[in-house]
């Protein structure tokens, strides 16, 4: 996945199993490793039906998310690249490992996507100033994903038009599931300034904050801002 992952626990040792898990995810899902299952699927060397059950489940969930996001989160449009979901999903699975190890006070940060258990205070990076914070979020048991133009250049595009969205600097989504929050943030960002915020207002169980290029910040009523 090519990103730093930080796992912190307040009430015990972080088991090595968590890092073994992330290494396994990287081996299986990396689009940069030629021999990963996903790379083989992408170049047609492996049919999805012949992939491992885990990979099939991930693609099945991505297909559900495509429908939930009205086509704005579309792994097929990206040449079968599920990375936008895998990052969050792998953190959700890592959280389950920590839970099984008996931890209740922990945080996992995978390249800016965060999942916590217990009470944590999270700063959301300012989209225009990497050394500052745009918002402080505080709460218990959070999953928080952000999609933004500053992430990897203008890498999020509207899959319907192929055009990078205008007017949005970043979308942060919180909710119970980080994989889903990640896909929703990507979709809302791709929808652009006119459609994205309105769409987030109707999400069930998930809250969102959209930072627009004109300096407005639009949040759903339940967004856990401190």
């Amino acid at each position: 996945m090519g990103m730093p992952i930080v796992v912190a626990a307040r009430d015990g040792e972080v088991p090595d199993e968590v890092f073994d898990w992330f290494r396994h995810v990287d081996e299986t899902f990396s689009t940069f490793k030629e021999e990963s299952e996903v790379s083989r699927i992408r170049r047609g060397g492996l049919a999805l039906e012949d992939a491992s059950a885990e990979v099939q489940r991930v693609f099945a969930r991505c297909e559900e998310l495509r429908e939930e996001t009205r086509g704005f989160f579309d792994v097929e449009a990206l040449g079968l690249d599920p990375s936008g979901f895998v990052k969050g999903w792998s953190v959700d699975e890592a959280a389950a490992i920590l839970e099984r190890a008996g931890l209740e006070e922990y945080a996992i940060n995978a390249g800016g996507d965060i999942r916590t258990s217990g009470h944590w205070t999270i700063g959301i990076q300012h989209p225009l100033d990497a050394q500052a914070i745009a918002k402080v979020v505080e709460g218990d048991d959070l999953a928080l994903a952000t999609s933004g133009a500053y992430e990897r250049g203008e890498h999020v595009r509207d899959p319907h038009t192929g055009v990078a969205p205008q007017g949005v600097l970043s979308v942060t989504v919180t909710g119970p599931d980080l994989g889903t929050a990640d896909a929703y943030a990507t979709a809302a960002f791709a929808m652009g300034a006119r459609r994205g915020p309105a769409w987030t207002a109707r999400l069930r169980g998930y809250e969102a904050m959209t930072i627009l290029a004109d300096g407005r910040v639009l949040s759903t009523p339940g967004f856990p801002a401190a």
Partner: protein, 139 residues
């Protein structure tokens, strides 16, 4: 299905005032307010649109003359797709459900334990900062 949409728009035209007032000896005014639900119309492949109009009908009777005025007092769209440009206008109705504020720039403070965001351009910064914050917490 296209025709049903036209029908809903037609209802708007009907609701325009139809007569002018004239002076009268005896005047009786009555009003009725009704809501009219249009049919669910398919908007391309994206879903359905349903329009509900609230129409106030005012009947003024002057002698034997009747004057009827219909005014649309409310338009709501309980069912709508989320994907067409046409629906953008409707979707903007959802924006009042969002709280709006001005983007601010805050400095990091010791209470912040984690840094979230789309961090790729500043991995090193965010990570080292976060490590520092976590360390600061354990002092």
């Amino acid at each position: 299905m296209q025709t049903k949409l036209v029908a809903a728009i037609g209802a708007v035209a009907v609701a325009l005032p139809v007569a002018n007032a004239t002076a009268a000896v005896k005047k009786k005014v009555s009003t009725v307010t009704k809501t009219i639900t249009g049919p669910q119309a398919v908007a391309d492949r994206w879903g359905y649109v349903e329009v509900v109009l609230t129409v106030k009908k005012t009947t003024t009777t002057t002698g034997t003359r009747k004057k009827v005025t219909r005014t649309i007092t409310n338009v709501s769209v309980p069912v709508y797709p989320n994907h067409t440009d046409r629906s953008v206008f409707i979707n903007q109705q959802a924006i009042p459900l969002l709280t709006q504020e001005v983007l601010t720039t805050t400095k990091f403070n010791p209470n912040i334990q984690l840094v979230g965001g789309a961090t790729a351009t500043s991995y090193a910064f965010a990570q080292s900062l976060q490590a520092a914050l976590l360390k600061a917490k354990s002092i």
